[in-house]
C-alpha cells in the first residue's frame, strides 16, 4: 500500500473513532450551519441549487467517509470549498451522519 494511501486510511480511521464526540451545543450549531450556510448553495430544504441536492434520498447511501472528505476538502473545479479551515474532522463526520439520517422536518 502506498504510504499516502495508508496515511489517508489512518486519518479516516482516526476521524471515525472521534466522530461521536460532539456536544449538544456544538450539534445545534452544526445543524444551524447545515440549514443556513450549506443551504446558501444546496437549498434550505437541501434539494439543491448551485450545489447538488443533499437529501438522504439524493445521497442514496453514500458512505460517511466520502461525504466527510468532500466537506473537509471540497471538490476541486467546482464551487464546493474545503471546510477544513472552519471545522474539525469530528464535526464533518457529524454533518455526514446528519445528512444521511434524513433529518429534514
Amino acid at each position: 500500500m502506498p504510504r499516502a494511501l495508508a496515511y489517508a486510511a489512518a486519518c479516516l480511521f482516526a476521524a471515525s473513532a472521534v466522530a461521536a464526540e460532539i456536544a449538544p451545543a456544538a450539534a445545534a450549531r452544526l445543524e444551524h450551519l447545515v440549514t443556513q450556510d450549506c443551504g446558501s448553495c444546496h437549498g434550505l430544504s437541501r434539494k439543491g441549487g448551485l450545489g447538488s441536492p443533499l437529501t438522504a434520498e439524493a445521497l442514496d447511501g453514500a458512505d460517511r467517509e466520502t461525504i466527510a472528505t468532500i466537506i473537509l476538502d471540497g471538490v476541486p473545479g467546482t464551487a464546493m470549498p474545503p471546510w477544513r479551515p472552519l471545522m474539525s474532522e469530528a464535526e464533518a463526520y457529524w454533518i455526514a451522519d446528519y445528512l444521511l439520517k434524513d433529518t429534514l422536518k
Binding site: Q36, D37, G43, L44, S45, K47, G48, A79
Partner: protein, 382 residues
C-alpha cells in the same frame, strides 16, 4: 326616500373614513424571511413592520421585483415558486410553481412580463405579470442565472455550466434569442448598469469578468479585469458573491472579487481597472449608496458579522460596523439617508444612519435575508 337611497348616502358618508386608511407604497418595502417562507412588509418612515405574508415556499436565495405601480411584489422562491403578493392587502394574489429549482427573476421594462431563472430544468420562463400565465420558455443546457431586464423588452441571462450568455428579445410576437458563447468559465451572477447599457457577468471559474455592451449593434463579450487575482493565493468561497445594479458609484463601477478578499473598481466608460480595496473577507454585496459617495460591503461566512464602508473617491475604508451574526443583505432608502441591514442569526433588521454610521432602529424579523424597497420598481436592472 327609499331605504336603498338612504343606504347609498350612508355609504357615501362613510367614504372619508375609508380614505383615511389609504396608504401609499412609495416608502414601503418587503423583507424575505428565508427560513419560514414568509415576507415582512415594512414602512421605511415608521421604521416598522406593518404585516407579514406567509406561504411562499422555500425562500433560501429568494429575491423579488415590484410592479411599476409599486403595489405588487413578485417573489421568486428557491423551489420554483413565483408568487404575486399584494403589499397593500398583504395577500398572495396568485402563485405558480413553475420549475423545480430557481435562482431569481426580473421584470420587463414595461412592467408586463416576469422572467424567472431556473436551475432545474435549466433556462428561463417568462410570464404575464398580470396573470402569471406562461408566455415563453427559453431552455438552456445548464443552470440559468444572472437574469437581468434590459431596455427594449429584453432579458439577459447566463448559464453556469455552458459559459454562455443569452439575450432574449420579447419586443415582437415571439421570443428572439441571441446566444453569446464562450463568455468565460462558470458565470455565477451578473448585473446590468443603471443606464441599461452594460451587462457584467462575474466568473467563478477564472479571474476576471465579462462585459457586454447592449447598445452595440452586435453585442459581444469582452473580458475585463483579466487575472485580477494573479499571484495571490485563491481563498475558499463560502458564499457566492452577488452582483447587483447598485454597482455604479459616480463614474466607477464597484465589484466584489471572487476567491480574493477585495473589491474591484472599474472605470464605467472604459471598463479598465482603476483600483482595488483589500477587505475584511470575501465580499458578497458591494453596494453603492444612492449618489455613489460610499460603498457598503458585507461578507461571506465565516466573516459575515461585519460591514465595511468604503469611500469611493479614495477607495479607503472609512467605517466598519458589526451589527451581529450573519449579515446577509443591505438596502438603502431611495436617497441614501439610511441603510437597512438584515442580520440573519440575530433575527433582526438593523437600520443605520448612513452619515453617522450609527444604528437608529431595529425591526424583529425571522432569519431575514433580502431587503427590497419599492423604489426599485423604477430602476433598471434590479
Amino acid at each position: 326616500m327609499t331605504r336603498l337611497a338612504a343606504l347609498l348616502i350612508c355609504s357615501a358618508l362613510a367614504a372619508p373614513a375609508a380614505a383615511q386608511q389609504l396608504r401609499a407604497t412609495g416608502d414601503l418595502g418587503v423583507i424575505v424571511e428565508r427560513a419560514t417562507g414568509s415576507v415582512l412588509i415594512v414602512d421605511q418612515s415608521e421604521h416598522a413592520a406593518i404585516g407579514r405574508v406567509a406561504g411562499l415556499g422555500d425562500l433560501s436565495h429568494a429575491s423579488l421585483v415590484f410592479s411599476p405601480d409599486e403595489r405588487f411584489a413578485y417573489v421568486f422562491g428557491r423551489d420554483g415558486g413565483l408568487s404575486k403578493v399584494d403589499i397593500l392587502t398583504q395577500e398572495i394574489v396568485k402563485r405558480v410553481v413553475q420549475a423545480g429549482n430557481s435562482i431569481g427573476g426580473a421584470i420587463s421594462d414595461d412592467g408586463k412580463l416576469i422572467a424567472v431563472a431556473n436551475y432545474e430544468p435549466g433556462g428561463v420562463k417568462i410570464f404575464e405579470a398580470e396573470t402569471l400565465d406562461e408566455v415563453a420558455d427559453i431552455p438552456a443546457a445548464g443552470k440559468a442565472l444572472g437574469l437581468e431586464d434590459a431596455p427594449g423588452r429584453r432579458f439577459v441571462f447566463s448559464v453556469w455550466d455552458t459559459n454562455e450568455t443569452k439575450i432574449v428579445d420579447m419586443s415582437g410576437a415571439e421570443a428572439k434569442v441571441t446566444t453569446l458563447p464562450d463568455i468565460g468559465a462558470n458565470p455565477y451572477d451578473a448585473l446590468i448598469t443603471d443606464d441599461g447599457r452594460t451587462y457584467i457577468a462575474g466568473l467563478f471559474g477564472e479571474d476576471g469578468l465579462t462585459a457586454i455592451d447592449l447598445w452595440a449593434e452586435t453585442p459581444e463579450p469582452r473580458r475585463i479585469l483579466p487575472g485580477y487575482g494573479r499571484g495571490e493565493e485563491e481563498m475558499p468561497v463560502y458564499k457566492m458573491p452577488h452582483l447587483e445594479g447598485w454597482a455604479k458609484a459616480g463614474d466607477q463601477i464597484v465589484l466584489p472579487a471572487v476567491h480574493h478578499h477585495e473589491v474591484l473598481w472599474v472605470d464605467a466608460r472604459t471598463l479598465e481597472e482603476t483600483g482595488r480595496t483589500a477587505t475584511h473577507g470575501q465580499p458578497v454585496f458591494a453596494m453603492a449608496r444612492p449618489g455613489g459617495r460610499q460603498v457598503w460591503v458585507n461578507f461571506a461566512h465565516p466573516r459575515n458579522d461585519t460591514i465595511q464602508v468604503i469611500d469611493t473617491m479614495t477607495h479607503e475604508i472609512v467605517g466598519e460596523m458589526t451589527p451581529g451574526p450573519a449579515v446577509l443583505h443591505m438596502e438603502f432608502t431611495s436617497r441614501g439617508t439610511e441603510a437597512w441591514v438584515s442580520v440573519r442569526d440575530a433575527n433582526k433588521v438593523v437600520i443605520f444612519d448612513t452619515t453617522t454610521l450609527e444604528p437608529v432602529a431595529e425591526i424583529a424579523a425571522e432569519s431575514p435575508s433580502g431587503i427590497f424597497f419599492t423604489a426599485r420598481a423604477h430602476r433598471m436592472g434590479l
